[in-house]
């Protein structure tokens, strides 16, 4: 008797969507019909208030998919409502306190949660300063050499890569583009050194798109291998300005914080002449964010002391460092300072190398 009475009433209520405690209750409520009725009363009383689920109830235990879905939606709505209420309460408290309110909590971003890297450079670190005074770029930073860049591609470049190289050559002062003609890099390098080039840049191509860059500092400097992505040529850029002029641009290097980042930053800095011509009002930016280096080329103008307007000119692309090798390009026998090992390094979302 008890058993037969309970399911009927509970089923009805389930379909009317008022039942917060459906069939699960039935085995528990089997003890006494009066007990069940009491609980039903309790249920009805508690309905107008907040939904009070018994602790052992879970939505996943309902076998009927439609009903389960309905219950889940309701559950979610309840949660959302609670969240909104909590927010409102907090806001009210905040306003009530006025000036004395505790400062707003800073949301967590990947940048603030970054895993502490022991190679982060301290600006006053003497050891780093000493190293940088005696490394391969010291000649440049002491003003002894002027950068001279040779830009070339892999074999048989297609139109897009060729145009990209040309645009790069306009962006970097004193850059020359040479057609590759199947030459081996190891033979090209001594010739470049003989002609006083300081940099060799090889744009690698795959399926008519540039996808890799080898940047080799010439006398016997480090060789960096990057992956290029999102290349935008000049004509694909919206609202761009006229072509860049011959003035040397300024360089902005952002967020190169670790030792590795520092050396890469110096690698980029040495591409451009030491004294930028402010008349030209051009700036090349290498911005590192989460191990992606974004390159942009802008022309700026100061409207007043508080505002500056920038207009994007030249090509834009993104680089990701794949390997850094001491010495000039030698993929077999070179000594690698750093290689991207995907399994180790990409495993943690909050760990970055540059």
């Amino acid at each position: 008797m008890d058993i037969t009475e309970v399911p009927v009433s509970q089923d009805n209520k389930g379909k009317k969507k008022k039942n917060k405690k459906p069939k699960k209750k039935s085995p528990e409520g089997n003890a006494e019909s009066s007990g069940v009725e009491k609980e039903e009363e309790k249920m009805e009383k508690s309905e107008p208030g907040a939904a009070a689920f018994p602790p052992t109830f879970s939505v996943s235990e309902i076998k009927n998919k439609q009903r389960r879905h309905l219950m889940f939606m309701k559950f979610k709505q309840e949660k959302r409502k609670q969240k909104m209420q909590l927010k409102k309460k907090k806001k009210k408290e905040r306003e009530a306190l006025g000036d004395k309110a505790p400062p707003k909590e800073v949301p967590k971003t990947i940048e603030n949660q970054r895993v502490f890297d022991e190679t982060m450079v301290d600006p006053e670190d003497e050891e780093v300063a000493f190293d940088e005074a005696t490394d391969e770029f010291s000649a440049y930073f002491n003003g002894l050499t002027n950068p001279k860049v040779l830009i070339t591609t892999s074999d048989r470049p297609r139109g897009r890569t060729v145009r990209f190289c040309e645009q790069l050559a306009t962006v970097i002062p004193n850059a020359h583009v040479y057609y590759r003609r199947g030459l081996a890099l190891k033979r090209v390098i001594p010739q470049c050194v003989a002609r006083n080039f300081t940099y060799l840049m090889v744009i690698n191509e795959d399926r008519k798109m540039p996808n890799g860059m080898v940047l080799c500092h010439l006398p016997d400097g480090p060789t960096a291998h990057f992956k290029i992505s999102s290349v935008r040529l000049r004509k694909e850029m919206k609202r761009r300005g006229k072509d860049p002029t011959e003035h040397s641009p300024e360089v902005i290097l952002n967020n190169f914080s670790t030792r590795l980042g520092h050396s890469i930053g110096r690698l980029f800095a040495a591409l451009f002449p030491q004294d930028p011509q402010f008349v030209g009002r051009q700036v090349a930016t290498f911005h590192n964010q989460r191990d992606f280096i974004f390159f942009r080329f802008h022309r700026y103008i100061f409207k007043n002391e508080k505002k500056v307007g920038i207009q994007e000119l030249g090509p834009r692309f993104t680089l990701k460092l794949r390997s850094l090798q001491k010495g000039t390009f030698d993929s077999k026998f070179g000594e690698y300072e750093w290689v991207l090992k995907r399994h180790e390094m990409d495993a943690c979302r909050r760990k970055f190398q540059l």
């Binding site: 971003t109 990947i110 940048e111 199947g182 081996a184 992505s229 999102s230 919206k238 609202r239 761009r240 300005g241 006229k242 300024e250 902005i252 952002n254 402010f278 008349v279 700036v283 930016t285 911005h287 964010q289 989460r290 191990d291 992606f292 974004f294 942009r296 802008h298 022309r299 700026y300 103008i301 100061f302 409207k303 007043n304 002391e305 508080k306 505002k307 500056v308 307007g309 920038i310 207009q311 994007e312 993104t318 990701k320 995907r342």
Partner: protein, 311 residues
């Protein structure tokens, strides 16, 4: 018994030969011991009981010979002779071994040997040249990297970062004397900005203040409009200019508007013009337009350009 003709009759023309590959113009023979590679009566190793070929194994060439005497012993059918690495000597060896053999087979063997040595030489040369290494891309990884890059780009906020850096450099004086923003106006602007940032938290009040100021200003300007235009009071102009800039910032977010080479005066006229196009207090705009009227040429030129926005 070996009946070559019968064999050829069967496999060559009428029935099936598993080594035969037919194309529109030509038939080929896939048998490894075939000397020319074509499906012919004279080239078929099955249909010729006396046959010879050249084959190479790991850079070494061998002469294979088949005679009718050994036709009954399939395991020992082919006689293998190692040829010397010297080209001429190897040719002599071939001649020596195939001394009384039909001219066709001798000729074809030598031809084949020549071809094989040529391609071996080329292989050795290629190894010394640049090797292209194909690196496979994993699609999943590429997709993940792409997404990470997009997120990083959003997080980077490049334009803001660049602008901030440039302003920093301006403040630190790396540009020297090129941009001569007047110093006391700068200070005044700073003061103004401080004042306004304090009141910024209460937006409504600020708007009212601004409105009040506007109301006040309008009246002031209207009363003394002639004097104002005659006055070249730099301070007044700067005050008005910076405050108009503040309002510009609030309204238009016009930090991106930009022309290339422009003098400051032109910029001022432009901001004034654009502001007057925005919320224009009637009297104030009249007064300001009057001032702009002085440099009407520039205004005409820059007006259409000022509408363009850059990112």
């Amino acid at each position: 018994m070996q009946h070559d003709d019968v064999i050829w009759d069967i496999i060559g023309n009428k029935q099936f030969c598993s080594f035969k590959v037919k194309t529109k113009s030509q038939g080929f023979c896939r048998n490894e011991y075939n000397i020319t590679g074509l499906c012919n009566r004279s080239s078929c190793p099955l249909a010729n009981s006396q046959y010879a070929t050249i084959r190479e194994e790991k850079g070494q060439c061998f002469l294979y010979m088949k005679v009718i005497e050994r036709a009954a012993f399939p395991a020992k059918m082919w006689e293998k002779v190692k040829l010397s690495k010297n080209y001429e000597k190897a040719l002599e060896q071939i001649d020596e071994n195939l001394i009384y053999w039909p001219r066709f087979i001798r000729h074809k063997c030598k031809q084949r040997f020549t071809k094989i040595t040529q391609y071996l030489i080329r292989m050795r040369k290629l190894v010394l040249k640049r090797q292209r290494k194909l690196v496979p891309l994993s699609r999943k990884v590429e997709r993940r990297e792409k997404r990470k890059e997009e997120k990083a780009l959003i997080a980077a906020q490049l334009d803001n970062a660049i602008e901030k850096e440039l302003l920093e450099r301006l403040k630190q004086g790396t540009y020297g004397d090129i941009y001569n923003f007047p110093v006391h106006a700068f200070d005044r602007a700073l003061e103004q900005q401080d004042a306004e940032s304090e009141s910024e938290s209460e937006e409504e009040e600020e708007e009212e203040e601004v409105d009040d100021e506007d109301v006040g200003k309008r009246e002031f300007v209207a009363d003394e409009e002639v004097e104002e235009s005659d006055l070249s009071d730099f301070e007044e102009m700067n005050k008005l200019r910076t405050s108009s800039d503040e309002e510009d910032e609030e309204e238009e977010e016009s930090s991106e508007e930009e022309e290339e080479e422009e003098e400051e005066m032109e910029m001022e006229t432009k901001t004034k013009a654009s502001r007057s196009k925005g919320k224009s207090p009637a009297n104030g705009s009249a007064a300001r337009k009057k001032r702009a009227y002085v440099e009407i040429e520039y205004e005409q030129e820059t007006e259409p350009a000022s509408k363009s926005r850059t990112t």
